[in-house]
Symmetry: C2
Subunit: 261 residues, 2 copies
Amino acid sequence: MQNLKMTANGHQNGRLPGSCGNMICTFLPPGHSQAAKQKHFMKRGRRLDSCESDTCMKFWVVVHGTAATCTAFEDGRRQIVGLETAGETICSLMAGPGTQNWLEALSDCIVCEIDLSGNARELQGDPEFLATTFHVVHRRLERTQNHITTLGRLDSVERVTLFLAEMAIRSGATRAKPQLVTLPMSREDIADYLGLNAETVSRILSRLKKSRMVKFLSPSEFIVPDLGELERRLPVEIPEPAMFRPAAVRPGPGTVHEVRA
Amino acid sequence: MQNLKMTANGHQNGRLPGSCGNMICTFLPPGHSQAAKQKHFMKRGRRLDSCESDTCMKFWVVVHGTAATCTAFEDGRRQIVGLETAGETICSLMAGPGTQNWLEALSDCIVCEIDLSGNARELQGDPEFLATTFHVVHRRLERTQNHITTLGRLDSVERVTLFLAEMAIRSGATRAKPQLVTLPMSREDIADYLGLNAETVSRILSRLKKSRMVKFLSPSEFIVPDLGELERRLPVEIPEPAMFRPAAVRPGPGTVHEVRA
DNA sequence: CGACTCTTTGAGCGTCGTCAAGGGTCGTGG
DNA sequence: CCACGACCCTTGACGACGCTCAAAGAGTCG
């Protein structure tokens, strides 16, 4: 199936990402209405609910900030299913029965809402559109499956360690070059992402601080002096940066393959 | 995005599932080679490894029995990412870095391997093919995301309870009509699916037996006398049967929408 | 400055994993 | 036919890990 990724990139046909850097916008008809493309400026904690209708074909693109796709039970337990950083496309929230699903701003966010319901009929026969949406869903599946393994088989220290490593790499850190990382989320958010609770996360961070694995300049700013050392404490390798960078903003055709390199 | 599900069904164009009941076969060229479609008869425990090449476009369809998509760390910890029962299509195993991924027979299985690498180029422009693969991946994402919440926020008793309920529903049980269920997997397999260990699963099953939530006729056969009672102990509703029945073998066009009903 | 939120840390305890022993079933081979 | 091993399931004892509750410190905003 890796071949489909190539098509999904879309660049080889000369199609270029829109002004926001995302592919989805480019499928809007030339003279689309205001309502079809809408920017949400979301303060931390604000939510966007998924649309329940069957005839709705909305996409959300995170333009700035960090958001999360969340699920909750009636009793209030929350699970963050995915972290959505700038460039990420959310093409449908799939609520299980008896649960609520929403997109929530973890930090202040700009989210672009694109409604393609108007030209759904044409798009369903458009190979480029289908390949793009396939790619969006495929990427998400990839990360979701990895997260299942994290939740099912890593203990709390490993989960937090992996989380720090991932955040560092998202910020551009490499094994060779440390990098100041700004956490866009609270301890409770981290906990809800990792299937832990906030106190446990805080305690583990303190432990990692003491063991010099990570230096905190403030509760939300840290540096990992030696990413390799972090990695040695984990039973998995740390994912490539490409894993966190959405395809549509990558430099050119073919680079998608780096994911498997 | 729900609209795409309609196209993905494929029936409305008159395209019908192949002899094995699956859509993917129908994309093989008329005079395809033997190698392009291959049946694997797998004894319990046997594995199929994912293909590493970038130019490979293989699909696996479980025709009979129960298989699992698995991940493992170097240290041996295993996580079952998804249960694959008859009719399920696996379109790519996406190994995270530093982990192994494979498809494993939990019970004796027949798995059909379909290699579309030969006509990849045409298929990448074929809306029907793209819609079908989109649907395959989308379905999987839906279940994967639900499983994240299960692993992250349900305790062990809730996980096992939910598992029993799901297995009952897969076997055709409803709130009104109990049903004899045959477990196609060991306690350890269940544990690896639920992020627990085998002894814990066994202990919890014993507890549920004592509380009459479930009757075991043998270690691998049980009946849930009152599915509603099981559901009342859970913070989530039990998914619809449609959640477990692959789209390609559903009766007709339009029925896909029942997923959201 | 106080109100609020977030974070940290401690004490206590329940849950779940580890280790170990014993029993049941099945297939093989003497 | 039975002995044996392989494998799975069950149950107990014990301990560590992670959650709950509580209190106090740190940072932010009006």
